[in-house]
């Protein structure tokens, strides 16, 4: 790896390019995380500008900019803010810094390298929606991010940017830091709220109540991703129109993408939203610079570990949600995982499925039992102990988690046409379906790799050989007397 910038006292990861820099503009300064550097580079000007305008106007500016949520769902933040019921107080802003999607590490960099930008984004959001309390939830494992955000927050309090009467405007806000305890599912907003309240991180069912109506402590709550909020200072400084001038109408601005796997230069890139294609990202010298060792690309995951896979057939798709969905996947949290021709596909799928099975919170039966069941069948197959029937069983178990058609990409080689996003699910949150997504993608796009791994079923067995001995077969004809 050879980063374009100078050596930084940060964990490596960010690679600069020629894209306009909205959220990573300070990343190459050695002291990018300090208040001094932040102030020297236009810091806290956005909140100053916001405080000079009525909150509704600030809210309008953000709504006009169409900042898509960067946590995974891609919902416009300004619209989300508008879902809070009027005149219900208190209300809260919760910042989702529990970035744990496999392949995703952009929020960590934002918190480590420019914590003040995030804090300023929180201030702008709080001012726009009329909040006086913000909870900043940072993933438990991100020690450096925690340290830098905490230091930055203390400095910001001391300098009067946070706390009572911000910059003499009469607007007061408190930001409360909270460290997670290490659970993937807490990246889901309702589970994050449960965790903040001191409960087990388990998702709440929505509907009936979305956090905007009934959230933290039963009060209206906005949950925003770190990157989403980090965009706000730039928007307030430069205006929504300038923001919308970058990218496309439906996906304006830039976005951060974390690339991992078999490319020459894996790392985090700030790219133009909506127009940059996967081919640009993976092959251009400005970005990843091609597949490792000049090998052929076999498959890639376009939006974090839970997204259905793409093959080279989809390389020319841009980072534009409205185009990715119909093609059978999602942009998710901005993580691209690349697999070259040497990749053992069943093993790669097992690696991802094992993660989601392990991270199931245990609440919904299909995820708790089905995820582990998938993992166990798949490891049998990977180890060469599976049969043909196990491959059907994988899809059958998956159908109990996600009934109906599961999204997948088109594939010319196999003559497949795309099945669009999203899917139905029997679970509350996406952890259960995420355990199935890699299995389904791998089986659908690379069936021959599985066929080669399994042996034929023993023909002397009857149609239901998988049934263990001693379990009654026909219960359905019985009537229950009690």
């Amino acid at each position: 790896m050879s980063p374009a910038g100078t050596a930084l006292p940060h964990a490596p990861g960010f690679i600069a390019n020629d894209t306009p820099r909205i959220v990573t503009s300070r990343f190459e300064y050695e002291d990018s995380y300090t208040l001094e550097r932040y102030l020297a580079t236009g810091g806290y000007e956005g909140i100053r500008a916001a405080l000079g305008r009525p909150p509704a106007e600030v809210h309008g500016e953000v709504r006009d900019a169409t900042v898509l949520g960067r946590g995974g769902a891609g919902f416009p933040a300004g619209v989300k803010w508008g879902f809070m019921p009027p005149n219900v107080w208190p209300r809260y802003l919760v910042v989702n810094g529990d970035e744990s999607e496999p392949g995703t590490y952009k929020d960590r960099l934002l918190m480590e390298r420019d914590p003040h930008q995030l804090i300023e984004g929180c201030l702008i959001a709080c001012y726009a929606v009329g909040l006086s309390r913000c909870f900043l939830y940072i993933r438990g494992e991100m020690a450096l991010a925690q340290e830098r955000v905490a230091k930055a927050l203390n400095d910001a309090y001391a300098a009067g940017y946070v706390g009572r009467n911000v910059l003499g405007s009469g607007f007061s806000v408190d930001i409360v830091l909270h460290w997670g305890a290490g659970a993937y599912v807490v990246g889901e907003e309702t589970a994050l709220i449960e965790s903040l309240e001191g409960n087990r991180g388990m998702p709440r069912l929505k509907p009936p109540y979305f956090p905007a109506a009934i959230g933290l402590y039963g009060k209206p709550t906005i949950v925003n991703n770190v990157e989403t909020l980090a965009n706000l200072p730039w928007i307030l400084n430069n205006g929504a129109a300038a923001y919308k001038a970058i990218g496309t109408e439906t996906s304006p601005g830039t976005r951060m993408v974390a690339v991992s796997g078999h490319v020459e230069r894996p790392g985090v890139y700030e790219i133009i939203n909506g127009t940059t294609t996967f081919r640009d990202l993976l092959y251009n010298d400005e970005y990843c610079g091609g597949i490792r060792g000049g090998r052929a690309l076999k498959a890639f995951v376009p939006g974090g570990g839970s997204a259905p896979w793409f093959t080279p057939d989809q390389l020319d798709l841009p980072f534009e949600g409205s185009q990715i969905g119909p093609q059978g996947s999602m942009l998710g949290s901005g993580a691209v995982m690349v697999m070259d021709e040497t990749t053992d596909i069943p093993k790669a799928a097992l690696s991802l499925t094992r993660f989601y099975a392990h991270e199931s919170c245990g609440k919904c039966v299909p995820c708790r039992e089905g995820g582990t069941w998938l993992e166990r069948i798949l490891s049998r197959v990977v180890d060469g102990n599976g049969t043909r029937r196990d491959l059907d069983l994988l899809l059958e178990v998956g159908a109990s988690i996600c009934p109906g058609d599961f999204p997948h990409a088109s594939n010319e080689r196999l003559g497949l046409s795309a099945s669009p996003f999203p899917y139905q699910m029997t679970t509350i949150c996406f952890v259960g379906p995420s355990a199935f997504a890699p299995v389904h993608s791998a089986l659908t796009l690379f069936p021959e790799e599985f066929e080669a791994r399994v042996r034929d079923d023993d023909p002397s067995d009857d149609a239901s050989t998988d049934r263990p001995k001693g379990v009654p077969v026909e219960l359905k004809g019985l009537t229950h007397g009690g």
Binding site: A357, C361, P403, T426, P468, H480
Partner: protein, 800 residues
């Protein structure tokens, strides 16, 4: 769901499997469908708890206008025009999938599982399941059942993690002692290390467990569900009158389940109500009449025993203690018999540990539903309801947490409800009456101001009043209750007496100053329990009858009780067990107990509900009403009835309160029949006696009861007997620190009765200046500190 507006007219229509269903707004889809005859399978949903959508079994196709989608029907509230298909291929596929996954790690040890035969997982697998499993890997393994408390075992292999027990413990009981630990496929329910699931309500988790994961120690491996015979009845364990199902196998009671009665217990039971059946099923029951010859008891025939009793009653001056164990019919039969045979009768069902009868009978009576109705105010005067009337505690806790009921406490110390009370006032003994006046006027601090504001708010007020401190004269509680009821508008009273059918006994005149039907009498029966014991001790009566009373154990003045029992000429004991008091008797008559008699029970609201016989009484034990009829017969008197039905007709004819009772409909009425207890008289204000001024050195004693004590019912139930702790003197943290001793060390306690040694501990629930001892516990008998006739008990505690 109880908090749904079931009285409101159905306002919207949904379609379930093609049929129109009218629903109330806010109703859950799963409930609406069930009402319309479509049962949607479920495991985690429970109608008395908040839905969690955990098991995913109730997924059905719901179309709210945007096309059908799978939704958990336990979390979807009905909406106009909603189209629901519970049997679509997709819904069936989802249900089959869930069941297959629930079973992948379920051990399928149904043949040796107590739940087998009544197991929702079994039943729904048969009805909705795929019928076979494709899971060939090894299942999850855990240590087979682990004891999570003295009463409950947990088999984690069977558990399907539905969150019912854990939700109950946290949300309903307020004892969050069981919890999910670990996560994903390794999630399990367990206790925290060194903190057993020691909840008074632990048995409910066993009842609501949808599999055999939780089992109750008393029932484990005693019966198979298909061998059980059952009958609906009412718990006579305390005055709440919780509705129950009694289940027997081979003519032995083996299990008690809570019945969901909207009026009383909502399906919940305390562990005492659930497990104290063991006492009547136990081996220590009296099984034949016994007659004292010299210093020994010898078996007697019933005819001889009845004749002896008749002789001791006929034309004699008779005193009666007890009666709360009896059914209303038996209470009537005994009072009719005594009325006809004896020259004079003095009777008291309260053993000097209750409230003046004129308040209980005369104040306008509240119902539990009124106390718990949304938006009300409850004033609680007395001891911790969790200890005294645990099922009422659950109802009140729910009302405070969910329905906006405001609680004002006037209790000797902090209670289980204090953390959620609006105003928590803990006067030291002797200050209760004044505290009640201050709560009305709002003087004395923030809590009093809040209380005063709430009392003057015009919201419906219910006073739940009992005796919070047996070491404080009853007149303090009486005056406090009278003050609130007298000074506040829109107020009613719910008496928190705790002993069984005490309200039936009061209604039938087992109390000084009143005849049957709450009629005031200024002559005749004018002696309370203490007066009766004194009369027995000094020969003012000829015969003392103990109707299920154990004055040696229960009357605060134990010396007086002992003198009375030893001194009276004739002592007749009617009981289930040979209690200490029975040992003084001339004749002991064995009575039929819980689950062995038919009859009815009057609860604290004045609600008459049926108690039912399920098993035959052991040996020659017989129903109390039959004993009364027999004794009358032996004296040559015909009471005019010799069947339960005739007895009920006579009761309706003789006692006005019972005149409107529809006896034939009683067994069918789910919530019993609420009797009209309106009186044509108004109770007098009972002024508190004057307490001596506080001195700076002594502590004032609080003596109260706990659910587990040395009482007969608990001690005769093998599973419960060991649960009572030894008595330890509790003092406030400040007073404890002043003593400068280690927790649990022995200290010297001096009262007017002498000097005693006992263990001491610090307590965060007591106000400074108060000390607490539990009543009827091993270790130290609190009554040794009590002196008859003192308004409050002052003690001095010193470290050596």
């Amino acid at each position: 769901m109880a908090d749904q507006p079931t009285d409101a007219p159905p306002a919207l229509t949904i379609t379930v499997n093609g049929a129109s269903v009218r629903c109330a707004p806010g109703e859950l889809l799963i409930a609406a469908a069930e009402r319309a005859g479509t049962y949607i399978p479920r495991f985690c949903h429970h109608e008395r708890m908040k839905p969690v959508g955990m098991c995913r079994m109730c997924l059905v196709d719901v179309d709210s206008g945007r096309g059908p989608a799978l939704q958990p029907s336990c979390m979807v509230t009905v909406a106009e025009g909603m189209v629901v298909d519970t049997e679509s291929p997709r819904a069936k596929r989802a249900q089959e999938g869930i069941l297959e996954m629930l079973l992948v790690n379920h051990p399928l040890d149904c043949p040796v599982c107590d739940k087998g035969g009544e197991c929702p997982l079994q039943d729904q697998t048969v009805a909705f399941g795929p019928g076979e499993s494709r899971f060939v890997e090894e299942k999850r393994h855990y240590e087979k059942p682990i004891a999570i408390s003295d009463l409950v075992y947990l088999d984690r292999e069977r558990c399907i993690l539905c969150d019912r027990c854990t939700r109950f413990a946290k949300d309903v009981a307020g004892d969050p002692l069981i919890h999910f630990i670990a996560r994903g496929n390794e999630t399990q329910v367990n206790t925290f290390p060194d903190h057993p699931f020691a909840s008074y309500f632990s048995g409910n988790t066993v009842q609501i467990c949808p599999v055999g994961a939780l089992t109750a120690e008393p029932y484990r491996f005693t019966a198979r569900p298909w061998d059980l015979a059952e009958v609906e009845s009412t718990s006579t364990v305390d005055t709440t009158g919780a509705r129950v199902v009694l289940q027997s196998s081979r003519d032995r009671l083996v299990r008690v389940l809570g019945l969901d009665s909207e009026a009383t217990n909502w399906g919940w039971l305390s562990d005492k109500e659930r497990f104290a059946y063991e006492a009547s099923a136990g081996p220590t029951r009296l099984v034949e009449p016994l007659r004292r010859e010299d210093d020994e008891f010898v078996p007697a025939r019933w005819s001889a025993a009845s004749s002896f009793a008749a002789e001791a009653i006929k034309d004699k001056r008779v005193g009666v203690l007890g009666g709360a164990r009896l059914t209303v019919e038996a209470q009537f039969a005994w009072s009719a018999m005594l009325e006809q045979l004896a020259t004079s009768v003095i009777a008291d069902t309260q053993l000097a540990d209750g409230l003046p009868a004129q308040l209980v009978l005369g104040l306008p009576r509240a119902t539990i539903a009124r106390a718990c109705a949304p938006g009300g105010v409850v004033v609680h005067i007395g001891a911790d309801l969790k200890e005294e009337l645990p099922t009422l505690f659950l109802r009140l806790r729910h009302a405070i947490q969910n329905d906006g009921v405001s609680l004002i406490e006037l209790t000797p110390g902090a209670t289980s409800l204090s953390p959620m009370s609006a105003a928590s006032i803990h006067p030291v003994p002797g200050a209760l009456a004044q505290a009640a006046r201050d709560a009305v006027s709002g003087t004395g601090g923030a809590a009093y101001e809040i209380a005063s504001r709430l009392l003057a708010s015009g919201r419906p007020v219910t006073v739940i009043g009992g005796r919070g401190n047996l070491a404080e004269d009853a007149s303090f509680a009486a005056e406090a209750i009278s003050t609130i009821v007298g000074e506040v508008d829109n107020v009613r009273f719910l008496p928190a007496l705790r002993r069984g059918n005490v309200h039936g006994a009061l209604e039938l005149g087992f109390t000084p100053g009143f005849g049957p039907g709450g009629v005031r009498e200024s002559t005749g029966n004018q002696a309370d329990a203490v007066g009766i014991l004194e009369a027995a001790a000094n020969g003012a009566i000829d015969t003392l009858i103990l109707l299920g009373a154990d004055p040696l154990g229960d009357v605060p003045d134990a010396d007086l009780a002992q003198h009375a029992l030893a001194g009276v000429a004739n002592l007749i004991a009617v009981d289930l067990f040979m209690t200490d008091s029975c040992r003084y008797a001339n004749i002991v008559l064995p009575a039929a107990g819980y689950g062995e008699v038919d009859g009815s029970f009057l609860n604290l609201e004045g609600r008459l509900s049926p108690v039912a016989a399920k098993v035959t009484p052991p040996g020659q034990a017989r129903s109390d009403w039959m004993i009364a009829v027999d004794v009358a017969m032996s004296a040559g008197v015909d009471l005019g009835f010799d069947s339960l039905d005739e007895c009920r007709m006579a009761l309706s004819g003789a006692v006005g309160t019972f005149a409107p009772v529809d006896w034939s409909g009683l067994a069918r009425a789910e919530d019993g029949q609420l009797l009209d207890l309106t009186r044509d008289w108004v109770p007098d204000l009972v002024p508190a006696v004057v307490a001596p001024p506080l001195d700076g050195y002594g502590l004032r004693l609080v003596v109260d009861r706990t659910l587990w004590d040395l009482g007969t019912m608990v001690q005769e139930s093998p599973s419960l007997a060991g649960l009572a702790n030894d008595a330890v003197l509790s003092v406030s943290r400040e007073d404890f620190e002043r003593l400068g001793v280690a927790p649990g060390s022995e200290v010297t306690v001096t009262s007017s009765t002498g000097t005693h040694r006992m263990a001491v501990q610090s307590s965060d629930t007591l106000p400074r200046g108060a000390a607490r001892l539990p009543f009827r516990h091993a270790g130290f008998d609190a009554r040794r500190l009590l002196a008859a006739g003192e308004a409050v008990i002052e003690i001095r505690v010193s470290a050596n």
